[in-house]
Structures are given as C-alpha cells and as structure tokens.
Symmetry: C2
Subunit: 118 residues, 2 copies
Amino acid sequence: METLNAAELLAALGHESRLAIFRLLVEAGPDGINASAIGEQLGMAPATLSFHLAHLSRVGLISGERESRFIHYSANYGTMDELIAFLTRNCCQGHACLPKTAGCASTEQRRAKTGKPS
Amino acid sequence: METLNAAELLAALGHESRLAIFRLLVEAGPDGINASAIGEQLGMAPATLSFHLAHLSRVGLISGERESRFIHYSANYGTMDELIAFLTRNCCQGHACLPKTAGCASTEQRRAKTGKPS
DNA sequence: CATACATTTCGACAATACTCGAACTATGGA
DNA sequence: TCCATAGTTCGAGTATTGTCGAAATGTATG
C-alpha cells in the first residue's frame, strides 16, 4: 500500500459518522447489516448516510450487496488489515511497540499460546 | 478510546502530507528528526510543514522537543497503538482477521515463538 | 548588540467536504 | 398496475481545511 492510498482510507475513517458506521459493521461481522438499520442506530438522515456509505465503499473499506429490497453492507477486513500493516511497517526498530493491540482473536490466540498476558 | 477521539487521530493521518510526516517519524525511531529535515525530505514550505506538525502534535500522534535551535519531532507509538487497538476491537468474531499485520517486531516475536508463519 | 538560522503565527484566499430536502430508481406485494 | 418501502442522486448552502507569503519569535554565535 502506498501513502496516497493509505491516506484515503484514513481520511475516510477520519470522520465521526463514517468511523461509527465502520465500527458498527466491523462488530456486526461478515454478514453485515442493511443501510436503514445503520441509519436508525446512528440517527442519520438517509441522504447523509448514503453519502458516507458511498465514500467508505469507494475506498474499499466496506462493500454492499443487494438482498431483495435491502442492501447489506459489511466491513472489508482485508483492507483494514493492509492499512494497519502499512501503519506499523518498520514501526518499532526492534522494540515492542504495540502492546495493546489485543482486539483481534488471532492476536489473542497467539498470546494465549505463548502464555503472555495482555 | 472513544469514537470521537479516534476519528480525530484518523483525520490527522488522513492527509497525504501528514501521513508522510508521521511515517517518516515512525521509521526514524524514538530519537526523531528535526523539522527542517522533514521539510527537506518532503519538499514542504516551512509554514505548511509547521501547520501539519502542529496538527499531529495537537492530537497526540507526535511530540516535539526543542534542542538548541532545532526542534526534534518523534512519533508517539503509544497513541498509534491505542488507535489500532480501537480499530481492531471485536473485529473478527473469532476468526483471524489480521494476517498481514506483521510489521511489528513484537508480533513477529510472538509468531516466531508459536512457530506460526506469517 | 547585530546577524543568521530554525520554526511558528498571522492573514487571506482557494478548494474541498458535510448536510439534507426533494426528486428519483429499484424491488416486492396487493 | 398501483402503492409502499429501501436506498441513491442531485443541488445548494454552509463550514472546514490546506496553502503559503510575510512577519514575528526563539536561539546561538561573532
């Protein structure tokens, strides 16, 4: 990932409403949820919501799939992964710089195996 | 970390120039580098650079320390860590969602211990 | 103190982004 | 076909952000 592309992703997440949408989808899991459910939970006007969903889609952080009258949106975990990989590349000069990054199950499983507490 | 605060950090990084500055400082390590060196490497006007450095400082992603006539800026790894922890919280519903996040030595050390390939 | 250099602050302009009502498109059901 | 619901697009107004020259501040040195 290049700086320009990463900056686009970060800018997309750098807005309270869009970040809230993205986090909602991240926690919703791979099945995702439909647009109006997002709008209800976050109290956003349909047009505003659509604007932000389009933005997040355009940069590749989420995808929408039509399911009859609804459109199910879901987070693209791979894109987030690449973004985090970009941010942490050559990040710590040999030191452990990310002790708190424990939200991911794979990380927690790794910690459990090594017997390291979080 | 709350959504509002995280959005501020992401917005700060969501600009090509600021992201380039931050990545430069992340790779420079804890000693950091001074403002004019950053400006030289990125070809930025002093006023513009100062504006972006102030922004990154305000949100806590970098810190500057005066050293005679120069000001050494360095990345605040802890803030980045918290940000990534926020982004990945409850992120993968039990699946391994971040296979590529291998830039951090602590992660790599953990992987080495468990014998897991990246 | 005068000068040079590093960096920030100020001010103004240009560009971009956000919001949301109204109109539009798509889908399913009566 | 007619209607209701889900969601998007359009358009206009407002607000925010980015850029950078010029002036100011802080620091060392002759």
